[in-house]
């Protein structure tokens, strides 16, 4: 605890822009989160259910370690979770602190082959009373949702069935969105605007792996996205912000989702995923969304590389523009990023890690837009190339402190480029 705070203040001192105020809020908030964590530990460790620590090297069907915990848990009840928060200081605006996520995972094993796994997500400090009273608006963002909740029927290594709301098996970060699993303070924009991590959806998913040939797969049908929800108006990102429907939502239309990964060579992951379905929950006839990504990652003694390309195309986007009343609707978008990381402590005999990294992330969330007359035009709206470099410090494999500097090049010429210095912390348990 003390150590954590000390290292955090060391980083803070380096940055003469960090306001003392924010530091103390940050401290308080860390303390609060750690107390929360302690309470959960206290409460559960006396319980018969028992509390196990997370095995950070374990992953079930591609998910992060904490999300996979119930699968390796010895006891029936399993509690895990993660949290992250950050302070960001853009040079073109005011600094902002955000208690970004606090996310408990609660899992339960009914038997060795029937497993319940859930993720509850409190984002931006949690649900806001004002919002509850007045309905959602731009100004109040905090919320609490059931991010995923599904039953998993484990049949064999090669074939299993999940039913319920699951993470959509696309991209690199969506399945592995815990803060210890990506090195930047903010997720790359490609996995925010093109693949809208964290993206979960209700349906049936089958998955399995064939270890001898190093292939694993996911294939399922799930609730389709809805691009005709009005908010998606003008030149907005394609699907960011819209697709994780919660609670009672229409399930008028479904989509197919599939993923194939190859891990046959040590340290290498090579894969692709696709999504195809109606783009508007059936409310607009004849408009479908096709999303795909190709991804790879490679690890070799302290060195890690990741790359991902993803693209979206929406057919007959004029039908959406016509129905929603928005002047245009996005018809194509794409993005890619490359991330290289090296742990400077790799050669030392320590469990601590200090990875330094550099990432190039380029998104074109509105590559083409289409109006109600079917005229498509190229749009530079939101087109941004961001180069980020930074460092992480893992005092423990479940705890990370992050600092990075992101240089955003806004492609539209009338916009001013900006740079952002960010500090963050994250943990899993």
């Amino acid at each position: 605890m003390k150590k954590t705070l000390l290292s955090l203040s060391a980083i803070a001192l380096l940055s003469n822009t960090l306001i003392a105020d924010e530091l103390s809020t940050l401290k308080e908030e860390i303390k609060e989160l750690q107390e929360n964590q302690q309470t959960i530990i206290d409460e559960t460790s006396n319980d018969k259910a028992g509390f196990s620590t997370v095995d950070t090297s374990f992953s079930h069907n591609g998910m992060g370690a904490a999300a996979s915990k119930v699968y390796s848990s010895k006891s029936a009840l399993s509690i895990g979770g993660y949290g992250d928060m950050y302070v960001k200081m853009p040079d073109n605006g005011s600094a902002k602190a955000d208690v970004y996520h606090f996310v408990p995972y609660i899992g339960y094993k009914f038997s060795d082959s029937i497993i319940l796994n859930t993720e509850l997500e409190f984002e931006h400090g949690g649900a806001n009373a004002e919002e509850a009273a007045n309905g959602p608006s731009d100004a109040v963002e905090g919320y609490a949702i059931v991010e995923f909740m599904y039953l998993d029927f484990l049949i064999s290594k090669e074939f299993n069935v999940q039913v319920g709301k699951t993470l959509v098996p696309m991209g690199l970060i969506n399945l592995r969105h815990e803060p210890t699993l990506f090195n930047t303070v903010q997720k790359p924009l490609t996995e925010k605007y093109i693949i809208p991590a964290t993206w979960a959806s209700t349906g049936v998913n089958t998955y399995g792996s064939f270890e001898d040939i190093g292939i694993s797969y996911n294939a399922g049908i799930t609730q389709a996205i809805d691009l005709n929800n009005g908010e998606n108006g003008k030149h907005e990102q394609v699907i960011a912000g819209t697709p994780s429907p919660t609670g009672k939502t229409d399930i008028a239309d479904v989509a197919f989702v599939g993923r194939l990964d190859y891990t046959g060579v040590n340290g290498l992951l090579l894969g692709a995923s696709v999504y195809y379905g109606n783009a508007t929950q059936g409310s607009v006839i004849g408009s479908s969304a096709f999303i795909y990504d190709v991804h790879t990652s490679f690890e070799y003694s302290g060195f890690k590389a990741k790359a991902l390309y993803s693209a979206v195309s929406i057919s007959n986007a004029e039908n959406i523009a016509s129905k929603s009343g928005a002047s245009e609707s996005v018809s194509n978008s794409n993005g890619f990023y490359v991330n290289l990381e090296y742990d400077v402590l790799a050669t030392l005999n320590t469990t601590q890690k200090v990875p330094v990294f550099i990432q190039y992330d380029r998104v074109d969330p509105t590559a083409t837009v289409t109006d109600k007359f079917g005229t498509s035009t190229n749009s530079l709206d939101g087109k941004t190339a961001t180069t980020t470099f930074g460092v992480n410090y893992f005092p423990h494999e479940q705890v990370v402190l992050k600092a990075d500097y992101a240089m955003s090049d806004v492609i539209a010429g009338n916009n001013n480029d900006y740079n952002t210095f960010s500090l963050g912390l994250g943990f899993i348990f």
């Binding site: 731009d138 039913v163 030149h235 004849g286 016509s322 007359f373 079917g374 530079l380 009338n414």
Partner: protein, 378 residues
Amino acid sequence: MYKKLLKLTTLSVASLVLFSACDEQSVATTNIEKAKLGEKLFSDKTLSKNKTMACATCHSLDNAMVDARAKIPNHTYNVNTGGSLGDDNVSIGDRNAPMAAYAFEAPDFHFDNGEKIYVGGFFLDGRAHTLKDQAKGPFLNPLEMNMPNDSAVIARVKDNADYISELKKLYGDDIFENDFKAYDAVADAIATFEQSSTFKTFDSKFDRLSDGDYELTSLEEQGKKLFEGKAMCVACHPIDGYHPLMTDFTYDNLGVPINKELRALNGVKNIDKGLGKEVNDASLDGAFKVSSLRNIAVTSPYMHNGVFKDLKTVVHFYNTRDIEGINPETKEIWDRPEVPQTINDVELGDLGLSNQEEDAIVAFMKTFTDKKFEHLIK
């Protein structure tokens, strides 16, 4: 649960069949045809009582979508005064006809719960909540096209056989069964035209700058910096993002003075309370919709009542309203605001801009002009 699985499978198969079965071109084609019909209606003078004016009279397609009528012979009225002369050749409106281009981009009128302010809507006081509602107004306005009611407009529409067949084709064979429905279809066709490329070219120098095809002159560049910085114009007329509309579609009382010259002509005596009257809230009296600044250099006169004729006067007003500045058009101190009690004195009134800096802001605003209207810049 297995039932759900079954249901989902059936649904997905069904939807795949649906995707392949639907007629792909129809929506766009229908919209294109509606816009063509709307274009004819927009320019049709027979839809006004004395058959002297159309929407296009006050929103000229060749003249930056504003009222640009030449001086009317034997008439004391001159369009540069502010209001527009009506179909009866006598009535003169009290508001300045705004540019109809890009107007469709406004969101529908609503109250933003987060910001606690009114946003969007059409007309300068937001009284038409949607673009289609707006199009129903001018036909029946006694100061404008002066038709007695919607049935009278539909009767004129029916005089034209082409309109009858096109409206039936696009809106259904039963469209003339009731005049209310037919009037709604007429408004819809006009609104569809108002969303077409005629109303959004996004090819001003400012847009070309964004695409990397234009470079600002040093005066324009200085103006941009001031516009975004010291002069704080972007607080209400944002220019960031791609294809910005240079308005945040909110409402504000800038303390604009009465247009005495116009009032002398039209005889209006009551205070124009703008949004305050529409939403019945005295704290919003005198608030008008923030104007888009697209084509601003070629849409004189300025403000909701057209009180200022020169773009630089507007900038000088923002700059010196609160420090007894001189109105360069009247050579007198700025007149009192029409509604003094609710004016915004936070973001404007005393900006400390030099004469040269005012020129730079005007030069920058000239880059907001659509290519097809650039020849109108004086």
